[in-house]
Amino acid sequence: MKRLCCALSLLLALGGCVRALPPLRTPDRVLSARTSAALATAARVAALEAHPEQGVSSLPPPPPPQDAPAEAQTPPTATPSRGVLAIEVDDGPARVERVVWHTVLRPTRVLVSGNRRSGDVLPSHAFVEVEPVCVAPCVARVPYGAYELRITPLDVATRDDRLGPRSQQESLESSAVYRSANTVAVVVNEAPSALRVTLGRRRAPAVVQSAGALTTLIGAGLTLLGGIMLPTGAVLGQTDVRDGSIIALSIGALGTLVGTSLLSGYPSEVRPASSTQWDVP
């Protein structure tokens, strides 16, 4: 069983290259009226938090008690560490998460072998740690800094269409290349900003590619065998060998043709997501 798994993994790895497509056009710097209004409100709240004296100019602070220490006489100013970010996704409502870490576990040694046999390959594991931000369209208070946002459409059909079938989504998320289809980089600072995202698309037809690789290998093997045996049969005058060689050659050539067609016709594809971020006055 394990040998079969190894063989399938090898075939999958051999199966075709990934076609890296350019991103779709960069989204326009336009927000919907509802998001714009929410952003304006959030920006105003953030500004008041940062400079509370602006919001209470008509209400002067009460005079401090005479015995108060000098440093307590100045009103405390908030030191916000979060900025305002409005997010819209062209592909409909979507869950937005902040990517915190990308973690990779690499096997270094086996402590207890279980029923593992020597020679079995231990795989590495990769996973992404995220924290939720909001469901777009939304206006969020997010930490200052540069980081990536992962966008996942809520609509199942859209999600499967953009990010591949559900059974593959977790494994594809662990690869930086495939992750680019639904992650975008943002930089958040004091200035309220807007982010508009158009999702990319990714495809990894593993079953078709494995079948293509297997068919190609068998086809090439039969072609090679037939190519070697055909002159042997002709020289030795053995019609059985010659006929068998011709059959092997024919089947092998057909298998190679079908296999390579599957590999080239159903390649893995990645189109990265595109985004626009701009400051909103």
Binding site: V18, G114, L122, Y147, V270
Partner: protein, 247 residues
């Protein structure tokens, strides 16, 4: 099984024949750092302008986060008693897409640089990085990883990537062809006297055919091994201090 291990060791040894090149020259180019969007400066961090001469790139901060002991994943392990494995944990934190101004921890850093152009990345570092099952291959090495030391001053970090061309697959094919060809040729040489003793057309033809095939395998294997060496070039970088904070 021992023979398999011996063959694997031989393959690894031969694939270790790597041409190691000197780091590339660092390309200096002007950057309008004032137009770059940046996060506010943070206490205890270094303000760094990062530029990669090979094109827009994604920079990640790498942190070795110790080890963890756990059973091997059930997904990849169809066993009732999975092995208990010690895993090294590496965490990667997104820093920015270059050119950019970033806040980085002061002191020694380990940064990985991945070109945003996936095709260019595959060309420089091998197509394995584009395969979904190649998580381990995505772990960077010094051809796209740098270890600068950052202090409190505003600094510029300029990077020129190296490249890594791993021809392990071709080497395995070359060694396999060489081994099978040599064994077959040896067998052909051993049986040649008996063929010459009874030179029937069938025996002569079979002998010529097999020796030609095995001889071709020896020549082909040697060509594959000699013509397709693995090459490796580390990335180069330079940290220079800047007069004014980049903002």
């Amino acid at each position: 099984m021992k023979a398999g291990h011996a063959l694997f060791t031989l393959l690894v040894a031969l694939s270790g024949c790597v041409h190691r090149l000197a780091p590339p020259r660092i390309v200096e180019r002007p950057i309008a750092s004032g137009s770059l969007r940046a996060a506010p400066a943070e206490e205890g961090t270094a303000r760094v302008l990062i530029d990669v001469s090979d094109g827009p790139a994604r920079v990640e901060e790498l942190i070795d986060d110790g080890h963890v002991v756990r059973p091997a994943s059930a997904q990849s392990w169809v066993l009732d008693s999975p092995p208990i494995v010690d895993y090294a944990v590496t965490r990667a934190r997104f820093v920015c897409n270059t050119p950019c101004v970033a806040n980085l921890r002061r002191g020694p850093q380990r940064l990985s640089v991945l070109l945003l152009d996936h095709e260019a990345m595959a060309e420089r570092f091998g197509v394995t990085s584009l395969r979904p099952a190649a998580n381990a291959a995505e772990l960077p090495d010094s051809s796209n990883t740098i270890s600068p030391w950052l202090d409190a001053r505003p600094q510029a970090l300029r990077v020129t990537l190296g490249h890594r061309h791993d021809n392990f697959g071709w080497h395995a094919l070359g060694v396999s062809m060489l081994v099978v060809g040599l064994l077959g040729s040896t067998a052909g040489a051993i049986f040649l006297p008996s063929v010459l003793a009874s030179p029937t057309p069938e025996n002569v033809y079979t002998s010529i055919m097999l020796n030609s095939i095995f001889g071709s395998m020896v020549i082909g294997g040697s060509i594959v091994l000699g013509a397709l060496p693995s090459t490796y070039q580390p990335a180069a970088y330079r940290v220079s201090s800047m007069a004014e904070p980049t903002r």
